[in-house]
Amino acid sequence: MSKPMWVVGTDIGGTFTDIIGVNLETGEQRIGKVPSTPPTYFDGVINGLVRAGIKGEEVLSFRHGATVSTNAILERKGVKTALITTEGFRDVLGGGRAERISAFELDWDPPEIIIPRRNVLGIRERISPYGEILVPLSEKDVKTAARKIKKRGIESVAIVFMDSFMNTVHEKRAREILHAELPDLDITVSHEVLPQMLEFERTCTTVLNAYISPILKNYLGGLSRRLKKDWNYAGPILVTTSGGGVIGMDEAVKFPARTFHSSPVSGAVGMAGYIGGLAGFDNVIAFETGGTTNNVSMIYKGTPAITHEWKILWNVPCCLPSVDTVYIGAGGGSIGWVDKGKILNVGPQSMGAVPGPACYGMGGDQPTNTDCQIVLGRIDPDYYLGGELTVDGALSKKALKEKIGSQYGWDAETSAANMYMVALTNLMMAMRIQTVSRGWDPRDFAIVPYGGGGAMYACDLAREIGATTVVIPPLPGYASAFGAIRVDVKHEFTQAIHKIEAELKFPQLNKQFDDLVKKAETVLKKEGMREDQITVSRFVDVKYFSQSRFFTVEVPKGPINDLAAITANFMTAMQTAYGYTLPPGYAPVELVNLRVVAKGEIPKPSLPKKAPGGTLAQALKGRRRVWYKDSGFVEASIYERGRLPVGSSFDGPAIVEQPDTTSVLPPGTHCRVDEFGNLIIQVDR
């Protein structure tokens, strides 16, 4: 048996399960796309692995997307969960932050709360904001709660006490008692999931974790057994995270809340960031278009923009580190419609996969973005998903003309053109929010589209926001699976401290940092990382006292003896983001949380080099009329992606077709095919 040299990534989508494997030694790449198999998704994974022709015993590292946990939340299919909290604070979870989604609208209701009020159990106890015990834990109350939990058939419990991140003793003791009473119960404690201030955000994150933990445990348990039995693989299973990394299966089962957002993130970090880098850009706008949403994430100076305020749904925050992604409710299936003031809108309503766009002929009579693209000549109805699905362009025309054209006296083409412009405007706004409002200049970014539809908008978007370059990866449809095999093992540990300058004791601060570093190294070593593969960075969240938001700034190596460097970094961050800092002496600086980010790096597979050969003429499939924003309908060259020779270049107007996506190159663009088969498109000529 040869040395295991394959790294394998998988991503489970609503329709398809993607497998991609790369041999680290030979650079060979194999792929498999098979139908997903809910609810036992791992059947699909095994099918895909077999289709790709990779053998388990030859695999070094197996990486898995965590769509299962995301879906379980969205579909409310977690386990029956209770929340144990400080008496008097039972409505912290249900009350949330008391926001409405939209000004003025009273008929809207937030998503249903994961734990109904009846299963939120108050316990007498209270830790002060400074960590002293104000009210001792009532063990009797915990035992009463245990009885209720048992009688009510509850499978998982979240324990969240007020200010527990300043003193963990009550949460630990409550867990002990519960565990003694109910040994089979799954228990999540807030100080392990998110030891940070803000009770609602901490409670919600901990509850999500408790709600999903048994589900992911079952799934990954089942998967690892199947991989062993049917695929002969007993190595480590690494699960992708929302923060743009992977973690070991044990950690994932304990902290599923770290994985909820992993699929688009893997694509953004592992694929889009990488591809952008190959083209010489370390600032990248990663742009995914799926069936119902667009996701926009940012890579800045080679590092993904991270948020700690990510929301899985309205009022359902999951505050573990997550790559900051803006979702727009508009994808291929989103509908175009005219409102009462005669304004054209696109989305957020979507036709989904069934009945789907009008062109599917499955009963959908509403014009969708996909119909628009067909009528504008960008998608060839005879080559939809590489010809696997038969679609009818006449139905697209009919829907556009009837639902939009009739309102304005437009023909189907004009309706489609206007609908496209509205969709483009929405996307542009999201990209602006992600760049300009951070103080970043969009002109410094390359756009890397992925997912099925991104490459149809990317060039126009680049022009709209002032970016100069679009890079389209060889297999945009496999971005998340490929991304999974390029991201590092990554953990983040935090410790809340909440100290203003005058209250700081440096020896204590250094010890707290050392403890976090040790904790991180222990976990990484447990996951098989060697000392020389581990890098640790230290950060601290800083703000002016009583300012509401903090900045996360890097802490220089070595012991901390004063705040000079930290304060300087804070001022720089503040200056960059807001363009100002307070005059000196106005307010004390406060250290909020200590953070340690630890990475374990193993060799990353590269994109395989594309075999040279062939000519551009051989790749040319023909010419057809295609609509472009700035020219209207013109004759465009149609190329087949797979046959485009390395090193060739051509100008727009052009369309590049491949089974998993269509790339649209407007007039005035210039495209070059690099050695990996990436399309590097200059839009600013």
Binding site: G95, S102, A103, D163, S548
Partner: protein, 660 residues
């Protein structure tokens, strides 16, 4: 119009262009390219939203950074409102226009230079109260003013005798805080430190206010730069045209909505608890007569009570604000509020009444007082016509604001502090569904301030953040529940509460009950217990004292006796509702067999009997304005039919920024 396509930036084509998109089709009624209009319309709101975000990040006081008591607006040259942000405080909206118009009266536009930015806070001219300071910036492009931005922040203190400036017992504005006439605080983008020092010396926490001012200034600059971008790309003329087209578009939408409503005259009234500074502390009446004829809609408030002595009333600008807010709540699809709506609503009042007070009447309590009643009464008047055609837009009254202010010395920072906070509460019932609990007052799309955050900023520790049992307005569809916040002060403080809705609770409609009222009790459940009420001014609390304060719930809709017993049981199981209240208000008899196992039973026979008895007893719930009574006018408001949730869903309007 054609100018647009000529404007090019670094050689790139502009968004609207050439072939395929040139159609200016008669049908859509927009006198300019549809897509340019769409881009601009979104850009106006987006600029305000971005500015609000900046404030949220930069500002200091948690009520702004965490609570979002701030707003941003873009206005025309002559002070007409173009757009505001998605998450702003509606209480500020109507005052944008008057603020800019009044500024222009005092300071001629010709004297303004690029970078000049004006601070202005005078309730009689700008509306609301002194704490809501406005920073107004003329936006210059190529040497001329092309628009104005107006940024409002609630400054946590504006001086005066009480920490936080709220003063229920004030009888003139001079006993509240300092007013600020329009002043050029930034001269060509340089802060006039001398001028600011005049304000700083008169207010508490002036260092923090300096940071809040900075946030406000950054927001103003942001809107400025966004507008300049639009001018550069599309041309000033096009932007100005888009302003007008936006008004016309909103107006068309609005008039189309009004056309579908029946004509008629409707009246409603509501009351403030008391004029605490007048003899006998009489209640204060807010009355409106609404006339709807064709597409004309007018609101006449002139029969409202004379202005009270105490701080409760509001100025005319605020009256229009409450009136517009009530209107927008009934027509959320018209978002954002702009001049297209404003110019079509007639708001009539009489000087010297509680909704149109004269200088120097106090105004700090405007929001929990007059403004809140104006909003609720507007909605109740609109329930008349809407109830017949769009019954889902019929809403009882909801939780009102309870301003809690505390001031003292913070041993942690060794500085004086001012804490300003509030309790969210119950939203009104809908005709088709129960009301939401523990949600923000309707005037604001803001947020709660987390306990753990306040505990670190201020010397307090919280002991409760929980719903108050039985505090909803009962009904076939019940209102939301009120919130209880309980906290202990860790140092001596001076406390003021400025609220309302203690005696005159948020009303129900169509036989639905009024909600539970608001309350504030010091040291509840101890020998030192003291019911301070909603108008307690300057109470000296000692270290270790506890404040129990609770907001009001939301009014109910329809008869409680018609509520499905299973829904009553659900509320009992969730411990929203006590078994006693289930029996008393709903006539539903519930037995707890094993509460730990959630094993409850409805005694169907006993329920049937009890309900029959209660139904015969005409007044099993008393008619009146108090908590859990039935509002005499509200009872008479009926809807044509009760819609189902499925029927309502397509009408729900979500206006929010991308990715929110």
């Amino acid at each position: 119009m054609n100018k647009i396509s000529k404007v090019k930036k670094s050689g790139k084509p502009s968004a609207t262009s050439e072939a395929g998109l040139k159609e200016k089709v008669a049908g859509h009624g927009i006198g300019m390219d549809l897509i340019t209009f769409e881009v601009m319309r979104n850009a106006f709101v987006a600029a305000c939203y971005e500015a609000s975000n900046i404030i949220e990040r930069v500002a200091y006081h948690p009520v702004i950074g965490m609570g979002r008591d701030r707003s941003n607006a873009l206005l025309t040259l002559d002070g007409r409102l173009v757009a505001h942000g998605h998450t702003d405080a509606a209480a500020h909206y109507a005052s944008f226009g008057p603020s800019v118009k009044e500024l222009l009266k005092s300071i001629p536009a010709v004297t303004m230079k690029p970078g000049d930015t004006f601070l202005f806070s005078d309730p009689y001219r700008t509306g609301s109260h002194v704490n809501d300071t406005r920073l107004i910036r003329p936006i210059f492009y190529e040497g001329a003013i092309v628009a104005f931005s107006c940024t409002v922040i609630h400054w946590a203190d504006m001086g005066g005798p009480m920490p936080g400036t709220f003063n229920p017992e004030a009888t003139t504005c001079y006993a509240e805080g300092i007013r600020i006439p329009p002043i050029r605080l930034f001269k060509e983008d340089v802060l006039d430190e001398e001028l600011f020092s005049l304000i700083a010396i008169n207010i508490r926490g002036s260092i923090e206010r300096r940071a809040d001012l900075q946030a406000q200034y950054e927001a103003a600059k942001l809107i400025d730069s966004r507008v300049k971008d639009l001018c550069k790309r599309y041309g000033v003329a096009t932007m100005h045209q888009a302003f007008e087209e936006q008004f016309n578009y909103t107006e068309r939408l609005m008039l189309a909505e009004l056309e579908t409503l029946p004509d008629g005259t409707w009246e409603f009234e509501d009351f403030g608890d008391q004029d605490v500074m007048a003899e006998g502390k009489p209640p204060i009446r807010v009355h409106c007569k609404m006339v709807k004829k064709g597409t004309k809609l007018s609101f006449d408030w002139s029969k409202s009570d004379p202005q009270p002595r105490a701080s409760w009333g509001c100025s005319y600008a605020t009256l229009t604000g409450g009136n517009y807010l009530g209107f927008m709540i009934c027509f959320p699809q018209l978002f954002p509020l702009n001049d297209g709506i404003i110019r079509n609503l007639e708001v009539i009042s009489k000087k010297g009444t509680c909704v149109d007070v004269l200088e120097p009447a106090p105004t700090t309590g405007y929001c929990s007082g007059a403004f809140d009643k104006v909003e609720a009464v507007t909605i109740a008047c609109l329930a008349g016509p809407l109830g017949k055609v769009q019954p889902w837009r019929v809403y009882p009254a909801a939780v009102s604001l309870t301003n809690l202010c505390m001031g003292g010395f913070n041993p942690r920072t060794k500085k004086n502090f001012v804490q300003y906070t509030y309790a969210v509460g119950g939203e009104n019932a809908r005709t088709f569904k129960d009301g939401k609990s523990l949600i923000f007052m309707r005037f604001c799309n803001a947020r709660t301030i987390p306990q753990e955050l306040e505990e670190r900023w201020f010397p307090v520790v919280y002991t409760a953040y929980e719903a108050r049992v039985d505090s909803c307005g009962h009904g076939k569809r019940r209102g939301g529940f009120a919130l209880v916040r309980e906290l202990e002060v860790l140092t001596d403080v001076t406390m003021t509460i400025h609220g309302d809705r203690e005696k005159f609770a948020p009303f129900g409609l169509s036989g639905g009950g009024n909600a539970g009222g608001s309350m504030l009790i010091i040291n509840k459940g101890t020998k030192k217990e003291f019911n301070a009420g909603m108008y307690a001014t300057g109470v000296e609390l000692k270290k270790g004292d506890k404040i129990y304060y609770s907001s009001s719930g939301g009014g109910g809709f329809g008869e409680a006796l018609d509520r499905e017993p299973e829904l009553v049981l659900e509320d009992v199981m969730d411990e929203w509702l006590s078994i006693e209240a289930a029996k008393k208000f709903y006539g539903v008899v519930i037995k707890a067999i094993d509460a730990e196992a959630l094993d409850y039973k409805i005694d169907l026979a006993a329920t049937k009997k009890l309900r029959a008895t209660l139904k015969k007893k005409k007044d099993y719930i008393k008619e009146g304005y108090g908590p859990h009574q039935i509002h005499p006018l509200g009872r008479k408001i009926k809807v044509g039919w009760v819609p189902t949730e499925e029927e309502v869903t397509p009408h729900i309007t979500i206006s929010r920024p991308p990715g929110w």
